[in-house]
Amino acid sequence: MNSEIALFLIQDGLTNGAIYALLALALVLVFAVTRVIFIPQGEFVAYGALTLASLQLGKLPGTAWLLLAAGMAVAIVESVQALRFGAVRRIPAVIFTYIIIPGSLFCLAWWAAPQKPALTLQVLLALLLVVPLGPMVYRLAYQPLANASVLVLLIISVAVHFAMTGLGLVFFGAEGSRTPAFSDAHWKLGVLTISGQSLWVIGTSLALIVALLLFFEHTIYGKALRATAINRVGARLVGVSPAMAGKLSFTLAALIGALSGVLIAPITTIYYDSGFLVGLKGFVGAIVGGLVSYPIAAAGALLVGLLEAYASFWASAYKEVIVFTLIIPVLVWRSLTTHHIEEDEE
């Protein structure tokens, strides 16, 4: 290996690592706020990428249908609950949020898709179609079990992952897709060629991380999420609804997931089930940070990206094996350094 290849691999690793870092942050966020280990994060990546790919072909993406159906399901669940508690006045708001808005987004996509708008608009439309699925999934699958043990929530996550992967196959088919790069620009920097796409990915990731930081530090909703993460009961006592916190954290996770999908789609071919492995690599990073530390999780995710880049150069067949085996030394290290005190759950 010469320095040119080494530098190329670093660039490659950092680009993928930036995406894993975003996912790792979302996983830590969701876990801290809701105790959900968010396995379906990867499906949002695949949905984001494949929705964009459909739009570029001028087709109505399958996620539009899914949004409509999920909205309908939430509307039914919410209305039944409203009727049971005699809160009929809530129903119009429910219909507006879960039927009218998804319906309008569907119509927008249906009208806009064949016209093949500019890339930025396509990305925006893809996000609008995929991100609302986040809070809807929370409402349907997790909210009725919000007080269950981490273990039950984890099994729910795996079940949601299964269902969403299967739906991905229905809506996008078994074919993989790759979207054109955001930028074809290349810069020569000594021996290294820097691609515009890498800069896009790294830049967007950094911007998103800064935006999240500002959100958590300076907005009331960000503070509410942090409060819930630190003390669920306490936050509830001062008026932070756990359902709101749950939906908000899932919205952020879905946004990060879908955006990661949009960013990664030009770099690698995405299939309906590719999201799982991408999401899990974010997980390996998050586990390095013990699922609690944002900066260590991000650093861990970058390490995963670099390891993957070098592994695919030296032993490409064993790439996944090497990346996922990284978790073993991490667990060894963590189990030797942390003193875990048993808490009784349930």
Binding site: A148, I156, A159, A163, G166, F324, D344
Partner: protein, 591 residues
Amino acid sequence: MSRKGIPRSRLVLGVFLAFILAAPVVLPEFQVTLLNYIGLYSIVALGLVLLTGVGGLTSFGQAAFVGLGAYTTAYLSTVYGWSPWLTLLTGLALTFVVSVFLGFISLRLSGHYLPLGTIAWGISLFYLFGNMEFLGGHNGISSLPAISFFGLALDTGREFSYLIWLLVLLSLLSMQNLLDSRSGRAIRALKGGGLMAESFGVDTARMKIVIFVHAALLASVSGWLYAHLLRFVNPTPFSINAGIEYLFMAVVGGAASVWGAVVGAGILTILKQWLQELLPKLLGQSGNFEMIVFGVLLVLLLQRAREGIMPLAVRFFPASRTPIPASSQALPQRVRPVVGELLLEVKSVRKVFGGLVAVNDLSFTMNSGEILGLIGPNGAGKSTVFNLVTGVLPRTGGEVHFRGERIDTLSARAIIPRGLARTFQQVHLLPTMSVLENVAIGAHLRGSKGAISAALRLERAEEAMLLAEAARQLERVGLGASMHEQAGNLALGQQRILEIARALSADPVLLLLDEPAAGLRYQEKRALAELLRKLKSEGMSILLVEHDMDFVMRLVDRLVVMDFGEKLAEGLPQEIQSNPLVLEAYLGGIE
């Protein structure tokens, strides 16, 4: 609820056995194959029923353990021509090493690291199988030899079916034996009673590894069977998705009975078969669409019936009440100290939480045969002292001596065998277990037989002694009549008495009671006071943390009063009642 004649559960079991015997002969080939798969999956799901349903842990990597068993036999029997029986043992040994290692590194951490670790392990092994040249890569290994059973080659699915179901039944039986034993009670305490179990000497970390390894070994056996049934292996059936499906089977069946594994495996296998025919036609394209149905089904099941299907089924089969085995021999008891001997010595004990000094250089002593009350207003640090003495919290400074031995450096688990047994301020019971079984956990350290002898029923003599001891303590505290009820159905007052019986089962010299009267009604308090007096008259020493003044004053020999982490006063109840400092602090000067 005893019935005349043959119990319904025996009848169903008989019908099932007859079906298993007849099915391979009479059913068409396709159904026999399906039945074989259900058997193979049941073995894996059984491990997960133990791990997830009973123990509250989870693994998504079971398919990888199945693969480990399958590939070990495939490789060794084709390349080196080893006998499949030898490769079974090799596969089990390999699985044992891997699962002990994985369990050891991830079970010391919080509960969610094990499942995450097993996902990673499952994916790694799957790709490893697919890329190793010597394992045939994605094409796998073919032409495995048939298993021969005393010279009879099992080379058709029909014959093989008997071997599969023989192993299913053996696994079920040994699992049922295991759960109904000393180790079984410890395992059942893992979910929701870890702290309590540790206080009675259960090594919960070790128990978790035991059930993880047990589940892995069952998966490995299933893999061995699979390899020799198909006489061919490739990586596909050992993917992470298969691992997830195994977990679904265990959840669908539920942990109410070991048969949940067979029920779950049966339902999911048949449903999958049916959906794989139906859905592609419905959707007009091919693919694994059953995933959607499985996912949605599981979410609904966990939302509506978290315990799975078995609790519904179990209701139709009232359990035959096993009589307490008459034990000819009582458990040995420890040597009791003479009344009046120095028992417990707390020397300048100190506990600091962050900036808060919860216990500030507290000292007191206690003699054998007395009831000592530790009282004080809320937040005085009583419970903290209690937790320091019982080893639940590490102290910041000072020393605690028990019968001349220093115990403040020991863990809760190491303190109990020295003769200090405790109750909890908030009752820590296992609500679905019987009163008797709950009390028997107290006697955990008075037995020594482990999981293997339990599975093989080699520990019945010891088990009889443990249960007889638990029954004796229940009679002693007056709960003998409720022995077979579910602990969760008792009233709070009875639950507290149950906790005392459990502590007594540990054969303690000193009983530590943490606010035993809290939340009790007047009559219940009187009954409790009477019980404690009776125990004292039998020579038991009792340290009582309480803030019900009335209750304490009439019961104890001596009192230690705490306020703001310090000792305010010490003496006889009458002295304390007239101590102006105590009146000021504790009663707020109202009287």
